[in-house]
């Protein structure tokens, strides 16, 4: 019996490690490897020199800024939504309705917004009707952040919803019994205990938001350039795999940074309280 469970364990572990090695470690190493080759295939640090010019540094900063905005608004809307969801009668149904849009292809959703936000689209017809007049919505920072938040918000709501669901109601009752106001209960009991959900939400939203492309062209009309856009361009248009990989290396570093920051932030917070 013990023998078979031992073999099973070995089998599972081997599969697991094979998977990790082939699909996680090898691609990462390849990205780093390619980043040291210039466009003619010679070994060089040219790509790294290029990255530290104003074009790419500005791009990195602006990518971070937009990713921050997207994450911030997702959290701002996502947290209360998740909280209210746990209070509703048909939780599963509501949750399904929130997840449902993520079954639709991203490209289709983005295209729909071209119609909704266009000069003669529904939004502007409405603004016209209530007397505000036609505004430019498409190809602005607003539309870019709005559509990105719309796309990412289910990924923010889900982990927070799970964290709130897991919270034993007795803790909330205890806090109320001891005379804490609703706000204090939220601030001192509910929020700290659901912080793990918030952290996963931030990670799941911030990291992909950093490497968004396609929406930058469709919705922002290339007025927003993120690192993801630059990588796409380097690989598909310039066919400079080295430079594309170099940008990807910095993107990976940024992601590691985000993971580390969100982890430390949670740990310290718990101790202080």
């Amino acid at each position: 019996m013990n023998q078979t469970s031992q073999t099973a364990k070995t089998v599972y572990l081997t599969t697991y490690w094979l998977w990790i090695a082939l699909f996680v470690i090898a691609p990462l190493l390849l990205v780093v490897y390619y980043s040291f080759f210039d466009i003619e295939g010679n070994l060089s640090l040219e790509n790294y020199q290029m990255f530290f010019t104003s074009t790419y540094l500005t791009m990195t900063l602006s990518s971070f800024w937009y990713a921050f905005l997207i994450t911030f608004f997702s959290l701002l809307i996502g947290y209360p939504t998740a909280y209210l969801l746990t209070k509703t009668k048909h939780k599963q149904l509501w949750l399904l309705l929130i997840i449902l849009p993520s079954w639709i292809n991203l490209l289709l959703k983005a295209y729909a917004f071209l119609g909704i936000f266009g000069t003669y689209g529904i939004t502007n017809q409405f603004l016209e009707a209530i007397g505000i007049g036609t505004q430019q919505i498409l190809f602005t920072d607003f539309s870019f952040v709005f559509v990105s938040v719309y796309i990412f918000i289910p990924f923010m709501i889900l982990p927070i919803y799970n964290a709130i669901e897991k919270l034993p109601p007795s803790l909330v009752y205890a806090s109320r019994d001891l005379g804490a106001s609703n706000w204090t209960t939220f601030r001192r009991v509910i929020f700290p205990l659901t912080l793990d959900g918030v952290k996963s939400g931030i990670q799941i939203v911030f990291i992909p938001a950093l490497s968004l492309f396609m929406i930058t062209r469709l919705i922002a009309g290339n007025r927003v350039i993120t690192l993801g856009t630059a990588i796409e361009q380097q690989f598909l248009v310039t066919q400079n795999w080295g430079m594309g990989s170099t940008i990807a290396v910095f993107l990976i570093l940024a992601m590691v940074l985000v993971m580390v920051i969100t982890r430390d932030w949670g740990a310290k917070g718990a101790v202080r309280r």
């Binding site: 466009i39 000069t119 430019q136 469709l218 361009q233 380097q234 598909l236």
Partner: protein, 356 residues
């Protein structure tokens, strides 16, 4: 555990079943032998009825696949996974493919209809002597605009800067196209390798940002037809599609000069049916067939004999069939080499970053 095993095996079995089914369907329709011809073309770039007629005439089965960019096509042919017999790359991609030995020379003894092609579209720098390619469609890069939304007439690239078009211009997202009109507006060649000229063009393009609404891809056709902007820099083929959708618009070849582009038929060296590939090219070169194809696609045909079968209104339209005097002044993209190409892209990215 048992559940897990079932969950894993069922999809595998279903996939195998489907694969077998597809194979059977293919065999039933006659695919899979040497009598097939794999054609790799841009999306919506042929009258599909013609494929049926070609199959009837030759007894070959055509497997038709599409791509959406030269780069995607190049990558797939380089990898050599599929035995493409015909591909339709643009000028600069052809010269790249020649450089990388990806093409087979055309055997002109097998093409009876080749004389139909207007000689002014032959022997271009990307394929001297047309050793490897036969023109399929051609066009220009220019400005499509809506006279009802523009005060005055646009005739040149510099009008984009000088006319009151604030936040009203869309650009097609192409490095060579945007850098090209920047260079042309200054009177430089769009194939320049002089870095000072390129830097000057990039600086000038940056000053256009107050007028630029967005830089977009294929959506530009829908956006322009929907009056989202007053003017746009596009390929003439897109312009004719836009004007078909919305008749208010018109197209102009800017007077400073612009790019003359070609999409040519080539035979990749992956071909397993070179004979059939020649049959296909010859079929497409037939005057009447080419005319019908042009009628469907809406781009400009290089087939001189086909012009007779087309509407006089179409072929006399100087916007899409400019005279020889005009086309002689236009420049075909030259393959600038990897390094220069990267530099163009670098400048284009820098220009894009200045939107604020």
């Amino acid at each position: 555990m048992k559940k897990l095993v079932i969950m894993l095996t069922v999809p595998v079995l279903v996939s195998f079943g489907l694969l077998l089914w597809v194979y059977q369907i293919n065999m039933a329709q006659g695919f899979g032998g040497d009598n097939t011809l794999v054609v790799y073309n841009w999306g919506d770039y042929i009258d599909e009825d013609l494929i049926g007629e070609f199959e009837e005439e030759t007894g070959l089965k055509v497997i038709y696949q599409t791509f959406d960019s030269n780069e995607a096509m190049l990558t797939k042919i380089e990898q050599g996974g599929t035995a493409f017999d015909i591909a339709v790359p643009s000028d600069y991609a052809i010269s790249k493919m020649i450089e990388e030995d990806l093409l087979l020379p055309i055997d002109y003894d097998k093409l009876d209809n080749f004389d139909n092609i207007d000689p002014r579209f032959l022997d271009k720098s990307f394929d001297p002597g047309n050793t490897y390619s036969v023109p399929y469609f051609w066009g220009t890069v220019g400005i499509v605009y809506n006279p009802e939304l523009v005060d005055g007439e646009i005739t040149s690239w510099n009008d984009l800067w000088d006319m009151p078009l604030e936040n009203d211009i869309l650009l097609a997202d192409g490095t060579r196209e945007v850098m090209g009109f920047g260079l042309n507006s200054l009177g430089y060649s769009l194939n320049t390798t002089d870095k000072d000229e390129l830097l000057e063009a990039e600086k000038k393009l940056e000053t256009l940002w107050p007028n630029i609404k967005a830089i977009v891809g294929d959506e530009i056709k829908m956006l322009m037809a929907n009056r989202e902007a007053a003017a746009a820099v596009v390929w003439s083929g897109d312009a004719s599609e836009i004007m078909y959708e919305n008749e208010e618009l018109t197209y102009v070849i800017p007077e400073e000069g612009t790019n003359l582009w070609f999409d040519n038929l080539v035979i990749p060296n992956t071909s397993k049916n070179v004979e059939g590939a020649h049959q296909f090219i010859d079929f497409m070169l037939d005057a009447e067939i080419a005319a019908r194809n042009t009628d469907y696609v809406g781009y400009s045909t290089p087939n001189e004999a086909a012009l007779e079968f087309l509407d006089e209104e179409v072929t006399s339209d100087e916007r899409f069939y400019p005279s020889k005097d005009v086309t002689d002044e236009l420049e075909v993209y030259e393959n600038l080499g990897k390094r220069m190409n990267a530099y163009y892209n670098e400048l284009y990215l820098r220009f894009k970053m200045q939107s604020k």
